[in-house]
Symmetry: C2
Subunit: 363 residues, 2 copies
């Protein structure tokens, strides 16, 4: 491979193993895996999911739904409906089974008035994340939405959807397990409350940490993890994967060496990685460095990390014993803190075999 600038390298084998792991887990627990494609944003990678029997997907925007509607016909947009994009919604609803999230009577009414085609909706529940959704005790609003839409010929209630994003604050499998148990109980109890009235309703659940770690999905109907397709340094810190599961790394050229302070400067900055960061051993870090291997990368190098990112520069701290082995023009591999954001910025992947993997380009 002729890499001359920051390039997002994809380890296809690791990525496919992550896909198989999650598909098998869903099968074992008899739940539908409706993977979130916001992480990879790629029709090419989407086909690897088809290979393991996946037929339904999740995305995070209507633009992304339009991109994937080329090859997928059952798509959930896991984002509160943006009513300003009603034309896109109608275009999609004509073509595929479109599932959207509703959490207010106002949105439901707008949709009923303006939809030209059938659309399914899930009520978004706030199951602890505190970002969007109705709290389980917002019974009045839930009932008002159901009442308002009951007679609609276009807008069909199919269930509740929750995202236990608070698992991102966990730092061990045990903590993830605890958050999962609470969040699952919450959504399942709301589902059960409405089950008699709506016998077919589903509970859609999922975030990468809990779907990776938990072994009890009773009462849930589908899982929507996304990040697991690549994992990243943040997930390692959360405790739901190992460095060895991370399927993407950025190859970056060394452009400057500062032996006096044991630092390298790489071509690879905020416009490549994004500015996501984690606190690690008392330091803020923006990536960790993996050993170069004959083909790609290997284990992380202890105490070697990206300490700062500006627009195009990354400043890398190097263990003093290793600084002499680096030369201007060498490539190093950086494991990203947050693979979703990094992939979104890079807009393409190169596999270890040198193949190009395309992505959605516009959002």
């Amino acid at each position: 491979m002729n890499i001359i600038k920051p390039t997002l390298i994809l380890d296809e084998a690791k990525c496919k193993a992550n896909i198989v792991f999650m598909a098998n887990k869903a099968k074992k627990h008899n739940v539908v895996l409706r993977p979130h494609f916001k992480t990879h944003q790629s029709l090419d990678i989407g086909r690897w999911f088809k290979d393991v029997g996946i037929t339904k997907i999740t995305v995070s925007s209507l633009d992304m739904a339009e991109y994937f509607a080329e090859e997928w016909n059952d798509i959930t947009v896991a984002f509160p409906v943006n009513i300003l994009e009603i034309e896109t919604i109608n275009r999609l609803a004509k073509k595929i089974t479109l599932n959207v999230l509703v959490e207010s009577v106002a949105t439901a009414q707008y949709l009923m008035k303006h939809l030209n085609h059938s659309v399914n909706f899930l009520i978004k529940l706030n199951i602890g994340n505190g970002r969007t959704g109705l709290l389980p005790n917002h019974t009045e609003t839930i009932n008002a939405i159901l009442e308002a839409t009951k007679q609609s010929s276009k807008l069909h209630f199919i269930g509740f959807l929750g995202h236990a994003g608070q698992t991102y604050n966990c730092r061990s499998k045990a903590e993830i397990q605890k958050v999962h148990d609470e969040a699952k109980t919450t959504i399942v109890s709301v589902k059960n409350k409405y089950k008699i009235q709506y016998p077919k309703l589903i509970a859609s659940y999922g975030d990468t940490p809990s779907c990776s770690v938990a072994e009890n999905f009773e009462g849930l109907d589908e899982l929507r993890p996304g990040n697991f397709v690549f994992y990243d340094v943040m997930q390692v810190q959360i405790g739901d994967c190992t460095h060895n599961d991370i399927a993407v790394a950025m190859a970056c050229p060394i452009v400057s060496i500062h032996k006096d302070r044991n630092e390298l400067v790489i071509y690879g900055g905020g416009i490549h990685f994004s500015k996501d960061r984690i606190e690690h051993q008392g330091k803020t870090i923006f990536g960790i460095i993996a050993q170069n291997d004959t083909n790609g990368w290997n284990d992380p190098i202890p105490n070697m990390y990206v300490k700062a990112l500006s627009q195009e520069h990354g400043v890398v701290v190097v263990p003093p014993t290793l600084i002499d082995q680096y030369n201007i023009g060498d490539l190093i591999y950086v494991l990203p803190i947050h693979s979703c954001m990094t992939a979104d910025l890079m807009k393409r992947y190169k596999t270890l075999d040198g193949n190009d993997i395309t992505m959605m380009l516009n959002h």
Copy 2:
């Protein structure tokens, strides 16, 4: 204007006023303004600089140099040379006056061996930023680079370049002034040391905070600020502009309203703003909200800010007295923390008059 999703709005009048301000300042102090175009990345906006007499520019990558080489013929790439991109360097050097940064003998030797056309170089000095560059007391390396390149027919020494990026840690005009005085003294003293040997050498200097605030540029030959074209919330916090100078804001649709916790959720997340943040009144914030105006935006709304960003969601804290005035589908204007990163993500602007302004698309 029919805005239906996150859209980066450009106030052309404010932007042009920022350009005129800096051009006049450079003229007044008899230094060349070589503005950094990494912030706007736009040939369209570049032409507004031509209108005030600018003929030389700075960029942060060779890709960006190729984009701007369509209309500009004297470009400095203010980033340590990435020797792996030698073909791009030769392609550019054939077409325009290309100035690059060298800070090691290894890079100088590589260039001398592989250049097909003349290229100017500046030695990058570390004048306090601690990211790249040689310290002023690294005389041995400076002399070695000059010695190695003395007889070169292709690689020509033209001066020293420094970036006092440590001004980004300042929080007042007085602090910026102090950092500027020290950094300027450093680069000018190195320049003076080599002036007898290289009578035409220049000192190239500049970051938005010091160029905005300082009034003493004696001994400097050119200024390279970039961010000032738009400014942003970070620059307001540093102390070198006011909210009224910020020339870009993101128009974002409201998709969810949480009256129980006085929060809105907007369509507008990390893939639109980037994850740059500042500490503000003891809180981490990712943007501040400006009042809607008949045409665009007006002053910031006190105590209204983006408290969290995920991939597509922004969570906005709203003063309790204002929460009732917002409806699903309304647009709000968010002033970005870091306009360079936001513009890079959005890849286009819309002016208040509804005109589209194009940008470089690939890097």
